[in-house]
């Protein structure tokens, strides 16, 4: 992966992303979230096929913050509703562009795989599986 802080570089220049980074960006594309909720979202959306531990999660968050792809939300949640010690994160504009570029790249890969008849000519997406 190229340097994420490369000024006005095209989103495509940062690709490919690590799976953990892409999953975190996808989770935050749905809205602001905290670490544990991101972990749960990833596990649920992949039907348990992809899980990340706290080290991978916060190592990735650290890099995503440094790249400017995500940002910390200043407002803290209502302590009655949630643990106020949690930090919330949101996707930035640049982060969305990079995530979209990565998604397009993966779509291209799937097309290639289908062309090579690795997907049996049909593609069914659902429950985190392709068959």
């Amino acid at each position: 992966m190229n340097s994420p802080n490369a000024g006005s570089a095209e989103p495509e220049s940062f690709l490919p992303l690590t799976p953990a980074m892409f999953h975190i960006l996808m989770a935050l594309a749905k809205g602001e979230s905290h670490g544990y909720a991101i972990m749960q979202d990833i596990e649920t959306s992949t039907d348990g096929a992809f899980r990340i531990g706290p080290g991978t999660l916060y190592g990735s968050i650290k890099r995503l913050l440094a790249s400017g792809w995500i940002a910390e939300v200043d407002e803290r949640p209502d302590p009655n509703l949630d643990d106020e010690r949690r930090r919330y994160y949101r996707l930035t504009g640049l982060g969305r562009q990079v995530a979209e570029a990565e998604a397009q790249r993966l779509v291209g890969m799937v097309r290639l795989a289908r062309g090579a008849q690795l997907l049996g000519g049909s593609l069914i997406v659902g429950q985190g599986r392709a068959s």
Partner: protein, 271 residues
């Protein structure tokens, strides 16, 4: 319910301890959140899968922690200045030198010298400590007392290495004496450096440690030599001397490893 709670509590305690694997800056930024995330994961896993689920969680968590801690450590090294890197490495080497001496003590006095005593550990120890002394020199800008102390300590280490190398090549009582003198000189150097560090607050923390370690070792050394000259049994002194020496250098190695992040260490304090 009580058992469930204790499983989570002990898991969190262990998890907190394992966070030490990460660089300090990473721990400060994300340690608390990582604990929160792990706590919630533990609770949910225990609720859904019971204790076997917690064991499974630990397996994956340990792998995750070790691999990502290594990545963060490497990233930290990548961003370090040359001085910080040198002192960090010299700190590790110094601590290794102390451990080598402790191994020798264990071998010689606990195992009672079973088989061939690994005598090569002594010159290796000397080399490690010489690197550590050089690390202290690179790290700070010391006044004359500090420089004199480090110079003497380095000279003592070189003498220790030379004495043992010559001992391997030519069997003679003289080299034993040279080795002992080398050790004494390095201890004296450490005391002088330690006094300077203590007096001028040169170190970011544990300013009294070099003086304490050097003084204690030198005192035991002198007592041991006095006992030897008076013809009494000196095994206890020898074991205590070497063990204190080893422990002292392990602690000083840790001090070197911690010292590099304090910019003040390089500047005004030593003036």
């Amino acid at each position: 319910m009580k058992q469930d709670t204790s499983v989570v509590i002990w898991s969190l305690r262990l998890f907190r301890m394992l966070l030490v694997l990460y660089p300090g800056a990473f721990r400060r930024d994300y340690g608390r959140e990582m604990i929160l995330v792990f706590r919630d994961t533990c609770r949910r896993t225990l609720h859904r899968q019971g204790v076997p689920g917690i064991l499974d969680l630990w397996l994956t968590t340990v792998l995750d922690l070790f691999s990502t801690a290594l990545i963060e450590r490497l990233a930290e090294v990548n961003q370090m200045s040359a001085i910080a890197l040198i002192t960090r490495i010299s700190g590790v080497v110094t601590a290794v030198g102390g451990v080598l001496l402790l191994i020798l003590v264990y071998w010689q006095f606990v195992l009672d010298g079973i088989g061939e005593t690994p005598a090569y550990l002594i010159p290796l120890y000397g080399l490690c400590i010489a690197i550590g002394v050089a690390g202290f020199y690179v790290l700070g800008q010391y006044e004359s007392l500090g420089r004199l102390g480090l110079g003497l300590a380095f000279l003592g280490c070189v003498t220790v290495i030379a004495g043992w190398t010559l001992l391997f090549l030519f069997e003679s009582e003289l080299w034993w004496v040279i080795w002992m003198v080398g050790m004494a000189v390095s201890e004296l150097g450490l005391v002088i450096f330690g006094w300077g560090a203590f007096k001028h607050r040169l170190l970011p923390r544990w300013n009294s440690l070099p003086l304490l370690a050097g003084g204690l070792v030198l005192a035991i050394h002198i007592a041991g030599v006095a006992a030897l000259l008076s013809g009494s049994e000196n095994n206890i002194y020898a074991a205590l001397w070497l063990a204190t020496n080893g422990l002292g250098w392990v602690a000083l190695g840790a001090l070197l490893m911690l010292g590099d992040k304090r910019a003040a260490y390089h500047t005004g304090a030593a003036a």
